[in-house]
């Protein structure tokens, strides 16, 4: 394990037993991060730009059918497959454990997108437009990505930046719950919990110790920072 040089290691817990699949997180993410608006055509072509998707699976035979929801976002792997393959360091690891993406360094080889086992990286196949008046809601904190550039969930790095600046101005560390990405803030069921995994008393670190926890495609050894919780005595499948 590499040396921790930062007091933060940002991570998230997704409680699948709480998730209702409402999709509010997807909308919040789209609104917060200047994610391009995609129509029917782009989605049918497999070129939608969502940084966070709700995977819906049907389980069982009719009439005993249940829907299963799996919110999948960038897993911010500690050993991320997307990072070493980028020839220009557009995909890199920051000291806080985030997978950064430098949009204006990206040349669009799409190698990272191929090598991401979670398929959470989206590519700007289109030169996206924001029809009026939607352009008014573009966030000034975030780059509007041009065509030919790869993008993905950043854990709302602009919010983390702001929280860290506020905290360092007051000479302290970021408090637990002081910063959360748009998806976690919006989730009505509190299925998404964000926080600092390096702080053992943080809410996210306590949840991660749950016996219900697992990580996606753990066998690949990517060591994601996103943990899922499932089971909890209400197991249906």
């Amino acid at each position: 394990m590499e040396k921790q040089t930062s007091p933060y290691r940002w991570g998230m817990v997704v409680d699948l037993d709480r998730c209702t699949g409402c999709g509010a997180c997807v909308v919040a993410c789209q609104a917060e991060n200047n994610v391009a608006i995609c129509g029917k055509k782009e989605i049918a072509e497999g070129r939608n730009m969502h940084w966070l998707r709700i995977e819906r699976f049907w389980v069982g035979e009719y009439p005993n059918v249940r829907a299963r929801f799996l919110p999948v976002l960038c897993q911010h792997c500690r050993d991320a497959p997307c990072e070493p393959v980028c020839p220009v360091y557009a995909s890199y690891h920051n000291p806080d454990g985030l997978n950064g993406q430098v949009y204006n360094r990206c040349v669009g080889t799409r190698y990272c997108g191929n090598n991401c086992p979670y398929a959470v990286r989206v590519f700007n196949f289109y030169s996206h437009q924001w029809p009026k008046p939607l352009d008014n809601q573009l966030s000034p904190d975030i780059t509007v990505r041009p065509r030919g550039v790869m993008e993905k969930c950043t854990f709302c790095v602009q919010r983390i930046r702001r929280a860290k600046e506020d905290a360092s101005g007051e000479g302290r560390l970021v408090r637990d719950g002081e910063v959360q990405p748009a998806c976690a803030q919006t989730c009505p069921a509190e299925a998404l919990v964000f926080g600092n995994l390096a702080d053992p008393r943080s809410r996210v670190a306590r949840l991660v110790r749950s016996p219900r926890r697992f990580r996606l495609l753990e066998h690949l050894g990517t060591h994601p920072s996103v943990y899922y919780l499932k089971g909890g005595g209400r197991e249906h499948v």
Binding site: V85, P87, V107, T109, P117
Partner: protein
């Protein structure tokens, strides 16, 4: 033994005439061909320009299939470039005299195919106009490309190969350029004079030339092997199911040599017809190349069998899904690939009559390369279509832009080749003449049998 004699029928002047016949002023048919090829190239350039000026939505790419026909082309063309190295370097070191009439064609092919192949990673970029980010150049921001990425290994290997194979081609051409210089007038004389670098054909020059050629032949082989290993690493070092496989580097090298040898056979048939070189490219040459193709096809079949067999035996569900998806969705392509790369060469090339028939060899060699193109496609596309997360499985089919660029690449290769054949000696003139000069009739009982006297080269 009798004294070595030049066979009267093949005097030096007549051989020079015959082998430099391609340098004669172009005919109307040549202009028509060049015009047609130029037209296709222009169409390919238009398609590429359209993609650059609009956006990449005009390709068939999507998520999860982010690499498509461009990368298939890349691997295919780099594979073809193994022709020259194989035919010239390996056959030179193993002293196979029959290589001589075809070595120039094969070496030129290497240079042109590797150049075209090297363009595709740049063509496929989302932002082609900032391709120079990939080059390690000093800049005030202190930014450096990431040498942990297989794409940078690629760039390094391909640049090395382009430089090495161009030098190899040029070096071998020096004495021929001098011959051409002495036979020409006007601008051609100036051009060949400059390129021949004052070659006079002294004993010392020949000595150095022989040493340098042998050295280059020995040095280019590891480069060629490394180039295609590195191309294979683009896939093998990822965690994509179906790509992440240790057999990929040797398998890719074998595949590359297979398509390279087949392409040389195709070229031999075309050049023989186009430049009336029936005297120098005899059925014997096709016979020998056929044997080589047979061996490489055997090796390829073994490598493919091992790759599929290990995956099938392990039956790891995510990996096996890729294979079963490929076999289900691309059944006709898969069958064509197996027939073209394995079944047909392995059966037909066992027969001497077929190996010695130029027409049959042309068909077989073309089929091998069609199959090799499909092989690249079946490696790249199905693996990406069915990756680890079933929710984002997808499909891919190339768009008109990608197909046009591909057509442009084929035409561009043919065009470069056509120009090269018109401007430079297409048959390794001095190599062939050296062989003819050393041919003697050895008395054997009452008959006289043709044989080759003396040692090759000045290095021993």
């Amino acid at each position: 033994m009798s004294e070595p004699t030049l066979s009267a029928a093949k005097s030096a002047v007549r051989m020079n005439d015959a082998m430099l016949s391609s340098l004669r002023p172009p005919t109307l048919r040549w202009y028509l061909l060049a015009f047609f090829l130029g037209g296709v190239v222009a169409w390919g350039l238009y398609a590429f320009g359209y993609m650059v000026s609009t956006d990449m939505s005009c390709t068939g790419l999507d998520r999860p299939v982010m690499w498509g026909v461009y990368i298939v082309n890349f691997v295919f063309w780099i594979g073809l470039s193994h022709s020259g190295t194989m035919v010239s370097a390996i056959l030179r070191l193993s002293r196979a005299n029959w290589r001589r009439p075809i070595l120039r064609a094969a070496e030129a092919m290497t240079v042109f195919t590797v150049t075209i192949g090297g363009l595709f990673p740049l063509i496929h970029l989302g932002r082609n106009w900032v391709f120079f980010y990939l080059i390690p150049y000093p800049n005030q921001r202190g930014l450096w490309p990431n040498f942990r990425s297989a794409l940078l290994w690629d760039a390094t290997a391909i640049f090395t190969y382009i430089i090495g194979s161009s030098l190899f081609l040029y070096l071998g051409m020096l004495p021929d350029l001098a011959v051409a210089r002495d036979r020409c007038a006007g601008w051609r004389r100036t051009l060949y004079g400059a390129l021949a670098m004052g070659w006079r054909g002294t004993a010392r020059e020949w000595l150095i030339f022989q040493k340098a050629s042998t050295l280059m032949a020995a040095l280019i082989i590891p480069v060629a092997v490394s180039v295609h290993s590195i191309v294979a690493w683009d896939f093998a070092v990822t965690v994509v199911p179906g790509w992440h496989s240790t057999i990929f580097p040797p398998y890719f090298v074998i595949g590359a040599i297979l398509s390279g040898v087949a392409a040389v056979i195709t070229l031999m048939a075309i050049i023989r017809k186009a430049f009336h070189l029936e005297e120098f490219l005899t059925p014997l040459h096709f016979d020998n190349m056929g044997k080589l193709l047979l061996v490489i096809a055997l090796l390829w079949s073994y490598a493919y069998f091992v790759e599929v067999q290990t995956t099938w035996y392990a039956h790891e569900p995510i990996e096996w899904e890729v294979f079963s998806f490929m076999a289900g969705r691309y059944t006709p392509a898969l069958v064509l690939m197996l027939v073209g790369n394995s079944l047909l060469p392995l059966t037909l090339l066992c027969f001497r009559r077929i190996r010695r028939s130029v027409g049959a060899m042309l068909v077989i060699s073309l089929l091998v390369n069609v199959a090799m193109f499909i092989e690249r496609y079946l490696i790249i596309v199905p693996s990406l279509s069915h990756k680890n997360m079933p929710f984002v499985w997808g499909t891919y089919s190339p768009s008109w832009v990608e197909l046009s660029v591909t057509a442009g690449a084929f035409a561009g290769f043919a065009l470069m080749y056509t120009f090269f054949a018109k401007c430079f000696p297409m048959v390794a003139l001095t190599d062939v003449r050296e062989l003819e000069a050393r041919k003697v009739l050895v008395p054997f009982a009452r008959a006289e049998l043709p044989s080759i006297a003396g040692k090759e080269g000045g290095d021993d």
